[in-house]
Structures are given as structure tokens and as C-alpha cells.
Point group: C2
Chain length 228, copies 2
């Protein structure tokens, strides 16, 4: 069985990516990064998802990106955006986040002798993020193949981004087909400690719209006061 | 004044790189990564060097790469190598280390609105490390220019590796010309808490040979029992 390292935030996209990687027959090593974000309940969700989807293990690395400042998601005092997502790069952009997460995944892949890394980036719904584009993923893969002992010994490494061209609705339908329980996933920027969603932030809106257009019941656990 | 992020381990090469970046007129933001290595006195050395060389600030990010295992430098129970360095990739190789450090530097550079990152990699003395080669640095730069908000808004980012083609002797002579006090630097794989060197590990041997061939007095602080 080939090993794969799968980035798993605990959100809808990365959970679907893990379901896809498991379905393709990889022995999946799920990997989360605790980069000081405010929605820590995502990390709890990641643990449950790794178990539920049959990942062979799950590691979380802690790294405090808030030391750098610079983004709503790592700055505890910035307001969470709730004003729509169509105005260029979202303020929730975390500097170099995917580059940092892929670099860490690369380190683990080398130790595991894995040649395959999965990441749930998506160019359709999140086109404002530079590090979610196909040309970025291709450039990372090229760099990674020059970076490691394994690569120069001939093991070609691949960065898989199976959601890249999928709409949110397609992603959700794919997950449902693979038996993924989306009630375990947390997308909300300000989920409570139990992982229940606010229903109003941009991430909640995109997610809810996804369930609607997929024509799949929204199993998201909302806070009791949320009216949809 | 243009800002630069300069990777600073506390060793001889990165200290020289910081001296070069300061000399080129950058406002230097020194950056160290505590990745769970055993020579922690390097991090103390980095603090002193940043101050001594006039860096405008110095940040240390903690990240526990020992969670992944896989290398002598992050595995506390592996013997430190002392048997020469000419047998391919050293066992002290840390998986994806430069990729991780450059990714973190990239995040900080974006927050600072800096377009310049300096790293003290060197293809001559450490040719066994894949992530010290010019083609690797070029690939990282290309990826970085697709990764960030700043880059897609037109700020071309450059990864500077001023030591790339220099011998250890040339590096040391360059540092001496720039007024760098090498007694502040720590290269030893098993330095003691005060940063004093063992004199016998591969890193100590390379360093000592560098001072000899540069015809510069070796100001390294060795432990009292070291006979050279």
C-alpha cells in the first residue's frame, strides 16, 4: 500500500480530500497544523474525521503564526469577515499558509517514504487566495522535487489537489458518495468550543450555499440561536 | 530603506549572511527557527549576533520537527556524526528543513512588506544537502512568487543566497572584512550550554579547516578539554 500525507484542517474541503485519498487506496497519514488560528474546534474535528475515515494515523504540529501578525484568522482582535467574498483577496488570508503546511507535509512525507501529498485547495470557490491556484501547486511540486533526499534519489513526489476544479456542490456530492459524515466537519470562522457554526460568517455562507446547490441536506451543527 | 528577512541559525554561515545583508543597506529582520534541534545554544548565539550586527529585530519561531523523527539533528538519541563528510548526504540532514524555514520567512516577509529573503546556504562545503543547491533556491523563489498576495500584486520576491558559491575560507574572510565577531557564532553539533564547541564533530572540523585555509585566527570557543 502506498502511503500518502493528507493535510486535514477539519473543514469540509480537507475532509473530502481525505475521503478521496483513502478511496484511491492510499494508507493515509492525516496531518493538521495548529497555526494559532481562532477556530480551534477545527482541530478537534480533524481528530474525529481522521478516525472516522480510517486514516492510519493523525499528527498535529503546533506553530504560532500569530507571532507574525498580518491576517484576520491569526489576529485575535480583528473582526471576522461577514460581508461577502467577491472583493479580491479575503482579509482572512494567512500569509504563506499553504506553503508552510505543504513544507511540513513534505518533511513528514520524506520520513514516511511517501511520495504523495494531498491538499484540499480549490480554485473555484476561493479564487482570491494566490496559494490555491493550479500554477502555485505545480510550482510547489517542482520545488519539492529538488528539495529532498528522496527526490534526488529518484522518488518523484506528487502534490495532489483533487478538489482544484470542483465547485462546492461537486465537492459535497463527492463526499456524500464516499460516505463522509459532514456533521463532523467545521468550516465556521467563529465556531464555538463544540464546533457549532455561527451561520453568518463568509465561510458559513459559502458552505450553506454549497449544500443547497448540491441538493444535499445541510447537516452542519449550528448554534441554537441561528435562524437560517 | 528596503526591508529584508534574514534566516539566522547562530552558526557561521548565517551570521556572515546577516553581515552581508546589513552591509548591502537593508533594514534586516533576523529570523530563527527552533525546530527541536539539540544545539540550542545556537539560538542564544543568534540573539547576540542579531544585536551585534545591528539587525532591526529578531524573532524566533518554535516548531517541533522531532515529532516527525528522521534525522540525527532532531533525534535526541542518534549519535552525532564525527566520521567525515564525503559520503553523500549527511545523516544530519533534516527533512525539508530549508523549505520549512524559507516558508516561514516568506510569511514574515509578506507581513513586513519585504521583497528580500536572505539564506546562508552554500553549495561548496555542504554539497550533500539537496536544499542547498542553486536550482533548489531558484525553484523556491519561483514558487514563492506565485504563493503570496504581495507577489500577485506585483512585488517580485527574491531569495538571496550570497554564500552559494563561496568556500568556507572565503566566507570567513568576508565576515572578517565586515567586522563580524565569529566568537559569537556556534557551529558545533553538540555545543554545551555556554555555546562552547566539542572540536571533534563534522561541523567543528569543517569550521576549523575553514579558519586554517582562510589564514584567520580561529576564535571559536572550545571546551576546556579540547586539544586541537
Amino acid at each position: 500500500m502506498e502511503k500518502a500525507v493528507v493535510l486535514l484542517s477539519g473543514g469540509l474541503d480537507s475532509a473530502t480530500t481525505l475521503a478521496i485519498a483513502c478511496n484511491r487506496g492510499y494508507e493515509c497519514h492525516a496531518f493538521s497544523v495548529d497555526y494559532g488560528q481562532r477556530h480551534r474546534s477545527e482541530l478537534e474535528a480533524a481528530k474525529k474525521l481522521a478516525r472516522s475515515l480510517g486514516a492510519s494515523d493523525h499528527k498535529t504540529i503546533h506553530i504560532d503564526l500569530s507571532a507574525f501578525g498580518g491576517s484576520a484568522l491569526v489576529d485575535k482582535f480583528s473582526p471576522v469577515p461577514a460581508g461577502g467574498t467577491d472583493t479580491g483577496i479575503p482579509v482572512t488570508y494567512v500569509p504563506a499558509r499553504n506553503t508552510i503546511m505543504l513544507s511540513l507535509a513534505l518533511a513528514w512525507a520524506e520520513v514516511l517514504k511517501s511520495r504523495d501529498i494531498f491538499i484540499g485547495v480549490n480554485a473555484v470557490d476561493y479564487s482570491g487566495y494566490p496559494d490555491c491556484r493550479p500554477e502555485y501547486i505545480a510550482a510547489f511540486e517542482q520545488m519539492a522535487n529538488l528539495a529532498t533526499k528522496a527526490a534526488i534519489e529518484g522518488a518523484r513526489l506528487r502534490i495532489h489537489a483533487p478538489l482544484m476544479e470542483m465547485s462546492k456542490a461537486q465537492i459535497i456530492r463527492q463526499g456524500v458518495v464516499l460516505g463522509l459524515d459532514y456533521s463532523l466537519t467545521v468550516s465556521c470562522y467563529q465556531a464555538d468550543e463544540a464546533g457549532r457554526a455561527c451561520g453568518v460568517c463568509d465561510s458559513c455562507r459559502i458552505r450553506r450555499a454549497g449544500f443547497e446547490s448540491a441538493d444535499v441536506p445541510d447537516v452542519t451543527r449550528y448554534r441554537s440561536w441561528v435562524r437560517l
